[in-house]
């Protein structure tokens, strides 16, 4: 084995120029893949995290069945107490209680069907960026204040401004008519079309009063420190819930499955591009290998005549291709990692991204994350595909007859 390995190493340097060309093709492909895969994965994480920070949080405790059929009667009793319990349990202060309902919102000019959410004013700012995105006026002041904040598209549609009165009409928990008139104290621009168009927030106490909720609510929203910890955190909250209560702890993947699906779709379509790149590179490598086998027919003939088994020569050819690929990948990964590391420190941005980022509520620069997965995923796929490609020249050797081969070109 040792001598075959050394032989393979020497063989690939018999044509230094050809080897270097192939090598640079592999290195280039590997470097591009390392960079692109890292960029893609990092922007997904950033996108998910920023989307969740706007409103949904990393996980929520909800009454069982509420997610699929949000009925106002399906509630969490004594929700504020459970909120404090979850706060203690997780050691996080970013835990906020919400009560939700649907209502007809109207101004003097118009009416629209909207979602009304009652929020704990003290904690809402820790789980959601909306309180910080109030562009006109201010956020809700206290849990029992008679006031509302709303999305800027809704405010425009209702022709309402800060200081004017908003009328809400809906159905309370006991089926009674829930109605109130409150002044608008703030208008937010969250960047999410859905929220900006359909959301009105009231202080939790006011909501509970208007919608005859008592001390009940519908969700306890938790925001952890990072996306990676969500699963652990969800389990911790799940086990900490009072035994026998019909409550569930749902991570963001359950709360907004569309987000995960959109990302999976984008990831899959990204791989079409990567696979084309890998296939093109593979063909150029295959070309090199095939050349080196075909031009060495005589040499292989002599080796066979001297008693080398076809399997050994096949192994030799395989090892040559593996050497070449590994060398190329090593160079590529180093270059790719250096580039990624640069953007890890300085953040990645391209022209026009700031506007786009502001629209989708993303940060204007993406800090690339150095993760073993994103650095090795692309190169591993290249290695597997080229190994498979190298099988063909290696297997051809089995067809050689020593005498004919020695007389060959």
């Amino acid at each position: 084995m040792g001598i075959t390995l050394r032989l393979a190493w020497r063989n690939i340097w018999r044509h230094p120029r050809r080897t270097l060309l192939t090598l640079s093709a592999i290195a280039f492909a590997a470097a591009i893949l390392v960079f692109m895969v890292t960029l893609q994965l990092s922007s997904y994480d950033a996108m998910i995290d920023y989307t969740l920070r706007v409103h949904h949080g990393h996980l929520q405790v909800q009454p069982e069945g509420y997610l699929h059929k949000p009925q106002i009667r399906n509630t969490i009793p004594d929700a504020r107490a459970l909120g404090s319990h979850v706060r203690q349990l997780t050691g996080l202060s970013a835990v906020s209680v919400r009560a939700m309902g649907f209502a007809l919102a109207s101004s003097r000019a118009r009416s629209y069907g909207i979602q009304v959410i009652g929020v704990e004013t003290e904690y809402e700012g820790k789980v959601s960026t909306i309180p910080g995105l109030v562009k006109k006026g201010r956020f809700l002041s206290s849990d029992d204040a008679q006031e509302a904040v709303m999305g800027h598209v809704l405010a425009r549609n209702l022709k309402l401004n800060v200081g004017e009165e908003l009328t809400l009409l809906g159905t309370g928990r006991d089926g009674s008519v829930a109605a109130t008139v409150v002044p608008v104290v703030g208008i937010f621009e969250s960047g999410s079309a859905q929220l900006d168009r359909h959301l009105v927030q009231l202080p939790l106490g006011t909501f509970q009063d208007v919608f005859s909720m008592g001390d009940h609510a519908h969700a306890i929203v938790v925001l952890g420190d990072s996306l990676e910890e969500v699963e652990e955190l969800t389990d911790a909250v799940r086990f900490g819930l009072p035994a026998g209560s019909p409550l569930v702890a749902l991570s963001w993947e359950a709360l907004i499955p569309g987000l995960k699906q959109a990302i999976q779709m984008d990831w899959a379509s990204g791989w079409f591009l990567y696979l084309s790149l890998i296939i093109i590179v593979t063909f150029s490598i295959l070309n090199t290998f095939l050349m080196s086998v075909l031009e060495r027919t005589r040499e292989f003939g002599i080796m066979l005549a001297l008693g080398a088994r076809p399997g050994r020569i096949g192994l030799l050819v395989m090892l040559e291709s593996i050497w070449l690929t590994l060398l190329g990948l090593a160079v590529g990964v180093v270059i790719g990692t250096v580039v990624v590391f640069y953007f890890h420190i300085h953040g990645f941005s391209y022209p026009g991204m700031e506007e786009l980022a502001a629209y989708y509520n993303l940060p204007a620069v993406i800090k690339l994350a150095l993760s073993p997965l994103s650095l090795t995923l692309g190169p591993t796929v290249i290695l597997l595909v080229t190994c498979a490609a190298a099988l063909y020249p290696a297997l051809r050797i089995r067809l050689l007859k020593p005498v004919d081969a020695m007389r060959g070109v």
């Binding site: 009416s111 629209y112 069907g113 009328t167 159905t171 089926g175 009674s176």
Partner: protein, 253 residues
């Protein structure tokens, strides 16, 4: 020449097909119209209990209802006390609601017309647009039967393509004296979604009417809304100013 000829033939065939109505369409349409007219009369006043039933919960409201002609109705809640004074006014398929808590009249936008009316299994549209069934649908008599010795007609109503209706079809059972026995709503895949059934028919206000009716969602048999008519009068004189927004806000009756 032959192309043109074929084209004309096709046009003629299409024209004939389009103008020939299926058998008995007029009769069926007249039946539906008569049933709706019988139900609304020239005018009516009634007091009803509306019970909303859910698996773990039930609630009853008492309502007073006035109607005049095809286009005007007014509903006012008188019990429970918490909701007393809330009202709904319908004029020309437009709907307004009033709540004393906020002392304001709100017009229900058309986008909300398929939402539930006062938390019940009736949509705002069910309350507002009963006579759409006459004007926006094609009708076909699909069967007859007998119930308690009286003839019952079964009419299938399919909305015009252009009609602003969410249903795929509606099937109405009408007794020979025009009392509506059953009204079933099918979605656009022709799956039965909900059904309004007359559970009791009695003499009241001078004629036979359905005094107990239940709206039942098909996907959950334990969810329904029932209307119990306690008092009714028909063809009575109702002042024209009953159906105005000022009367909705400040009751004169």
């Amino acid at each position: 020449m032959s192309y043109k000829f074929t084209y004309r033939c096709a046009a003629l065939v299409l024209y004939v097909c389009a103008t020939v109505q299926p058998c008995c369409a007029d009769e069926a349409a007249d039946l539906v119209k008569a049933a709706i007219n019988y139900w609304r009369d020239v005018s009516s006043y009634s007091v009803v209990d509306m019970t909303i039933h859910r698996p773990k919960w039930e609630r009853t409201m008492t309502l007073r209802v006035w109607t005049r002609g095809e286009k005007e109705s007014l509903v006012r809640v008188i019990a429970p006390a918490k909701d007393a004074g809330n009202g709904t006014l319908l004029v020309d398929n437009k709907m307004w609601t009033f709540s004393p808590k906020i002392n304001r009249i709100i017009k229900i936008p058309s986008s909300m017309m398929y939402q539930s009316w006062m938390g019940s299994d009736f949509s705002n549209n069910d309350v507002a647009r009963a006579d759409d069934l006459v004007y926006l649908y094609t009708h076909r008599l699909i069967g007859t039967g007998t119930r308690e010795g009286r003839k019952v007609f079964v009419v299938e109503a399919i909305p015009f393509d252009s009609a602003p209706v969410v249903w795929g079809k509606e099937v109405i059972k009408i007794r020979d004296d025009y009392v509506l026995l059953e009204h079933a709503f099918y979605d656009q895949d022709m799956v039965l979604v909900k059904k309004l059934v007359a559970l009791e028919i009695k003499q009241m206000g001078g004629k036979e009417i359905a005094t107990v009716e239940r709206m039942q969602k098909m996907d959950n048999p334990d969810e329904w809304t029932q209307i119990l008519v306690k008092e009714a009068g028909f063809g009575i004189n109702i002042p024209a100013n009953t159906f105005t927004r000022s009367n909705l806000r400040n009751p004169r009756q």
